[in-house]
Structure formats: structure tokens, C-alpha cells
Symmetry: C2
Amino acid sequence: MMKNDRVVFIVDDDERIREALAELLESHGMRSVAFGSAGDYVEADKPDLLACLILDVELPDINGLEFQRQIAEGEHPPIVFITGHGDVPSSVRAIKDGAVDFLTKPFSDADLMTAVQTALDQDRQDRSTRAELGALRRRYLDLTPREREVLTLVVSGLLNKQAATELGISEVTLEVHRRNIMQKMAAASLADLVRMAERLKIPVTHSRRNPGGN
Amino acid sequence: MMKNDRVVFIVDDDERIREALAELLESHGMRSVAFGSAGDYVEADKPDLLACLILDVELPDINGLEFQRQIAEGEHPPIVFITGHGDVPSSVRAIKDGAVDFLTKPFSDADLMTAVQTALDQDRQDRSTRAELGALRRRYLDLTPREREVLTLVVSGLLNKQAATELGISEVTLEVHRRNIMQKMAAASLADLVRMAERLKIPVTHSRRNPGGN
DNA sequence: GGCGGCCTCATGGATTTCCATAGAATGCGA
DNA sequence: TCGCATTCTATGGAAATCCATGAGGCCGCC
């Protein structure tokens, strides 16, 4: 009953710890892959599965907390820190930087497994969010520069006429752009498009419409 | 040059600590009000200013972390924990629960002041967000039950006709509701209304519109 | 029993959006 | 230089929205 859709990465310089952790995880039906240093972890090509990273704070090549910040630049599995010499400032920094938990040895098997489970759950969430946002961004990149301008004005609430004036083009042209946008973004409605723009953090310009009334 | 638009609350059972903190804060032009227990803090009527709360973990009446969770139910200033016997699990919990920082004695004046400043900045942000959301909610509460139903359907992207059918009323009636909504919510455009609904976490229903594509 | 708020509906016109179709100019890379 | 993407424009009609105005029924509260 080994679950093959998920994996736990272990980065710890102590081989005995790595083995103990691997064993513990296996006994819970959890597949794991261990590394002796941050460098090894980075170099390795890792399966694209639901994952979590158990990271020792003290590593031979780099400080675990520093390493956390480095990989925070890109996509990375949620981190559970473990350490033999845990101090408060480190744990504070780790959690502030998004770590799921910070366990000091000795910790119970149960605590670790709970943290791992939480991390995996979070990864599921992260992935789903990333996937959606990624799809959205891809569609956005499909837009031409002009269409992006139009999109901004439209989701700001401007009437076609107003937006057209703003861009110095005819209303008809703007309509064409607008419909192309709806098409490319696969928006079912203006409301939909506005929500997409929100998630893409597209700023609202002069969100007026009927400023004076009528 | 005492700034009177902000205040730092101190909750610590040790009077010497309270006085030392108050002095330190004062030397930085910061007004403070100190309490000997969580109960005293709760009972006191506190000025509605930009604030931050320096909280000792060990209190006579309740554990600081527990107290944090209690006040987390409602509005409260950002918390900076201080403690004489800081342990990692406590700090982890505190930060997870939203504390700005967790300082163990002895800590430097600079560290505390930095944390206090961060907390005050966060309070400014929190207040601004709360104020906007509050105004939005008040307007939403101004809507009649029917209008709220209509709002949901409209921001879901339904055409007036579709929404009207959904509610079993005529299109004209729905238009009336719709315009009343725009009025009451002070929305400048549909895009605007959609964004408001997002912030109010109004769920989208069957967000279709031209399902098959005419 | 009257008043006010709420929900309902109608008419009708101005305005806007939606859609399909078609043509043309620019500019850039193959 | 040809082809393609991008941008621009137009016509014309269907559909939808916006707006003002008027009005009837229901219900709870004073």
C-alpha cells in the first residue's frame, strides 16, 4: 500500500538520520528520496509528484534557512525543518519564510508525520493554485500588446466608447479587440474576465463610468 | 516629539520589565500603556489609535499564546511576543498564529524597536483593509434579500434574462433590482461590482453565459 | 387602518454590447 | 518578396443594457 503519487525529499547530512527517516516514512506507506546536501538535492532531477521537503537546518554546504530563501525564488515543495540545535530566532525566521513546521530533535514520529501530512496537503493546494494561475498567464501571454491595453481598460469598467477614445481608435476596432480577448482568455462573461484580471493582478486604471451621472 | 497618533500596549507581569519597556519606548517618542495581566488589558478601554501589543508569554492569568488565539477572534493590534524562557514550539505556534515577532530575553533594544515598528506598520495596513471591507459590508447589508440574490447571479456573469429566469421573475424586475444594487453599493460599473463581490467573498453560482455559444 | 419598505411588472426609447463578415495597411521574419 | 500576424476600419442587424416613469400587491409596524 505504498502511495506512489507522492514523495518526501529528505536533506540531511547525517546518514543515520536519513535512514531512520526513510524507514519511518516507508512504514507509513510514504515513498522518500534522501540527499546528503542541498547541492545534491538541487542537482537531482526530481519526479513531479505531490511532495514535501524535510530539511535539516545544519547542512554541509549551506545553511538550511538560507537554502529555504534560495528555493523560495521558484517553485518548491513545502518545507518541514528538523534540527538538532534549534534556536528560537531560527524557528521564527523559518516559519515567517513559509515553513510548515520546525521540529527540534528529539521529536516524535507522530509530530513529524503530522507535519509531513500538512506539508503534502499544502503542496496539493499550492499546485492547484499554480496550475490555474499558470493557465491564466499562458492565455494572457497569448494576447497581443494592444489587446492587453484594451483588457486593462475594459476590466476597469470603461465603456467601449470611452476605452476607444482613450486609445484613440474607433469603437468598432475596440469591439474587435474585446471579442478577441474574451475568446483567447476563454472568459464566459465580463464578470469572468474581471476575476481573471484580478488574479493576474492587472491594475485598474481610471475606473470611472458615468462620472457625473448620465 | 512624542507621536500621539500611536500607542504601544505592554502586557507583562513583571513591573520592572514594564517600566523598562515604557522607558525605552518613550525614548523613541513612543507612547505606551502597560498592564500586569491579560485580564487588565482586556478590561481597559483602549484609545482607538494605531497600536501594537508587546505580550509576555508567561502571564499570571493566562498563557500568552492562548491569549493570542482568544483575541484573534476579533480585531486586535499586531503582537510582538517577549519571553524569558522561550522555546521553539512556542515561537513556532506564535508566528503561525500571526505574531509579528517572538523575542527571547535578553533582546536588544534595536530588535524590539524594529519589531514594534513592523507591528505598527502592519496595523496601519490592517486598519485600512478593515475599514474598506467594513464600508463594503455595510453597503452590502443595506441590500434587501432579493437584491442579494440578484447580486450573486449578476456577478456570476448571467445575463439579465438568464438571471430573471433563474429567479422566476420578469426581466424588467430584475433590471430594477440590478440598478438599485449598483446604486446602493456605489459601484461605478459592473467590473467594479464584481470586484466588490470578490472581496465580500460572494460565491459564483453557475457562471455560464453562452454555454453552447449561440 | 394607514404608511413604508419590498417585490413585482410595464412601456418605450436611448445607448451599448454582441456578432458575422469583409477589407486594408503595417511590419517583420522566412 | 511573400506570407503572416497585428492593427485598424466599416456595415448592419440582433440582443442586451440603461434609464425614467408609473403602478399594483403584500406585509409588518405604529
